[in-house]
Amino acid sequence: MSAKTLTIDGQMVSAGADESILQAAREAGIRIPTLCHLDGLSEMGACRLCLVEVVGTSKLQPACHTSVAEGMEVRTDTERLRAHRRAIVELIFAERNHVCAVCVASGHCELQNLAAAVGMTHVRYEYLAPSCAVDISHARFGIDHNRCVLCTRCVRACDEVEGVHTWDIAGRGTESRLITDLHVPWGEAASCTSCGKCLLACPTGAIFHRGSTVAELEHEPTRIAAIVAARSERW
């Protein structure tokens, strides 16, 4: 495998030819915020938080979905990017009903951490306050759509790692909702193996163990990558 040399935030970085900017940056200790990205799953390019500036193109590029190139000069932390990231996190908070004070994931929530990381102090946008359901028809797990950010990490974990595809999205725009099977209650979704990978993958408190209470839920998203790695070819 050939290697490429590029510059990220002024730092010379060497990366494998098939690596993304995100991977290269992480190896170099440069942190780019992400939400829909999860190690072990395919890239979605949907949250737009990892957008970076690449010198020579006016368009912002998603770090998770852009391959490194020789001599590439990447900027991950400019004024413009910081403003965009803060605005995107605010938009997510305004979209559904994210009430940390009563959330199972509070203190262990990627969205909460992102808000702190991007310096979000308040939300400038109108809260859309949609009416969202909570589905606790499954024996072990529940989903609270109020906390879902539509990152589809559960959809991809279920499809790509468990190989089942119980989850998908119905509707469009802000009307998009996660569904199980052909929009039946989770407990009636015949394809679900109750493996819990969706729970591992969820960045917020949307998918939770039934019976857990405020701030009790600790996701283990890295276990998805561990499962994928364990299955792949040994070296």
């Binding site: 949250c47 368009k59 979905h65 605005a87």
Partner: protein, 542 residues
């Protein structure tokens, strides 16, 4: 099928024709205003007048003057009748030789017609789109024969490149370059060595109906263009993606595909060569975003119609991972004319960077609503004032919206802007697929911006955050401005959101969604400010 047979079909068709042809437009606009009944009455009237031996009534494709339908024209005399009612049918037959007639006479020499230059619409209103024989008699499928027998794929691509044709879907990507990329693309190493040609007929801009009209009026022209493209890039399978709201276009395309297959013009060993090409129709289920090429591909594959990040572009990895050529309906409709009349002829039309003609759908507050095909480089003023005839009630035209929800509003003061890709982009709009909505003095530009934002909000697929939530927030702000509730700070916030959504959205829908707002803010900012809450203005005043 060989050349003799092709010419035989054309000759038999010409011999079959009667001396006088009454053309009754049966495209959707006239269809909706009763053209089918009119056609039946005309046929009965011809019969009753005992002229069936010399006169025939033909249901034809779009004549173009849609706002004045149902339309009837007569060949060879060139008579034109507008807003014809079924009761006037006997009258029209009686007036065939030029006598007086109760039906409203149209002027075939009106600038609406005389200023047009017909390339892709040359058969519209002249042939029956449901009969392949008429298309062949008009010279159809000769271009396909010529390329299959006399030209290499590289020569075909070279001709398209030299013609200067650019994508008519809106973005204006050079067609020859796209073809060359697909032709050279090998596809993924593990992928099947197949290539596809896809025709994007998911036209969805409000006020735009060019592609529908082409598909309804001349389906074989599009099929021939696709076949030539398939030969050039090395594809053996094509898909026509048509939106479900176009039932007549779908019906006529299905008929056209069946006829072409029957005549050996689609299928295996076309014109006795090694070239195979099959075409299937895929009907869209009502999502605007499926006009975006990667979402369209997902939809054809049977998946949820959502875009994915590019690169890789479909030219490299498209349908089922194979190299795929995607062009718009009008782009394909230009191909056969370019091949038969030559790249130099085509390149001689239009401007240096935008060659050829463009079909526009004139709609809104305009006297002459309908479809026009004009050479690139014509000014907006010529289109609006000469072809369009200004507003219906004579009030001044305020602006023209081009490019639908991805485009912008161009104020009357800039009407001397030539219609080409670069000039329209320079004034903050885009060429777009060809929708042209005319607005008069009574139109509020803030409300127009809100209308387009509502459209984008409803059509956002929901995949990426900026488009999904940003369009809702922008619509909310526009709503507040329209209702007189907003403060000056909210206009600033609106502008910031425009910037965010434009720079960070995943696909073209989101990236261009702010354009109607940005262009109206640029030219009609006073209309926004007039609507602000008055006490808020007083508070902020020094």
């Amino acid at each position: 099928m060989d050349l003799t047979e092709l010419h035989g079909i054309a000759e038999r068709e010409r011999a079959r024709r009667k001396a006088i042809r009454i053309h009754c437009c049966t495209s959707l606009g006239c269809h909706a205003s009763g053209a089918l009944e009119l056609q039946r009455r005309l046929e009965a009237a011809v019969e009753a007048a005992g002229r069936a031996d010399t006169v025939e009534v033909v249901g034809v494709g779009c004549i173009g003057f849609c706002g004045h339908g149902p339309l009837v024209s007569v060949e060879p005399s060139g008579l034109l009748f507008e807003r014809v009612t079924p009761e006037q049918a006997p009258d029209i037959v009686a007036a065939l030789d030029g006598g007086p007639c109760a039906a409203q006479r149209g002027d075939p020499n009106h600038p609406f017609f005389s200023r047009q230059l017909l390339v892709v619409r040359r058969n519209g209103g002249r042939i029956d789109p449901e009969r392949i024989e008429e298309y062949i008699a008009a010279g159809g499928y000769q271009a396909l024969y010529d390329v299959l027998h006399d030209q290499s794929p590289a020569e075909v691509i070279d001709a398209i490149t030299r013609s200067g044709l650019r994508g008519r879907g809106g973005a204006g990507y050079p067609t020859g370059l796209k073809w060359a990329t697909v032709a050279k693309s090998k596809g993924a190493p593990q992928g099947a060595p197949r290539k596809f040609v896809v025709c994007n007929g998911d036209e969805g801009d409000p006020g735009a109906f060019m592609d529908r009209s082409i598909l309804e009026s001349d389906p074989h022209l599009v099929l021939e263009g696709m076949s030539i493209a398939a030969y050039a890039v090395g594809a053996d399978q094509g898909f026509l993606y048509v939106r479900g709201e176009y039932p007549l276009a779908i019906q006529r395309l299905s008929k056209a595909i069946t006829q072409a297959r029957k005549h050996g013009l689609l299928g295996s060993q076309i014109f006795d060569t090694a070239f195979d090409f099959k075409v299937e129709i895929r009907v869209g289920a009502g999502a605007f975003v499926c006009g975006e090429e990667t979402a369209l591909i997902a939809s054809i594959e049977g998946r949820r119609g959502q875009p994915r990040p590019r690169p890789p572009y479909p030219a490299e990895r498209g349908l089922w991972g194979c190299p795929t050529l995607i062009n718009n309906v009008e782009t394909f409709a230009n191909i056969a004319p370019i091949i038969s009349r030559g790249a130099d002829w085509y390149a001689g039309i239009g401007t240096a960077k935008s060659r050829g003609t463009k079909v526009f759908a004139l709609a809104g507050k305009i006297r002459n609503t309908g479809l026009i095909e004009v050479p690139m480089g014509i000014t907006l003023r010529e289109i609006v004032e000469e072809l369009g005839g200004g507003t219906a009630d004579g009030s001044p035209v305020k602006a023209v919206q081009t490019g639908g929800p991805s485009g912008g509003c161009i104020p009357a003061s800039l009407f001397d802007t030539p219609v080409d890709y670069e000039s329209l982009a320079a004034v903050g709009s885009i060429m777009g697929s060809g929708g042209m909505v005319v607005m008069d003095d009574a139109t509020s530009m803030v409300e127009i911006a809100r209308f387009y934002m509502e459209f984008c909000m409803d059509e956002s697929c929901g995949k990426c955050v900026p488009c999904r939530v940003g369009t809702v927030q922008m619509h909310h702000l526009l709503d507040r401005i329209c209702n007189g509730e907003a403060t000056p700070a909210e206009i600033v916030q609106l502008e910031e959101l425009c910037q965010l959504v434009r720079e960070t959205s995943l696909c073209g829908l989101g990236q261009s969604a702010p354009n109607p707002v940005l262009s109206t803010l640029r030219y009609f900012r006073d209309e926004y400010e007039e609507r602000l809450r008055h006490e808020a203005l007083a508070e902020e005043a020094p």
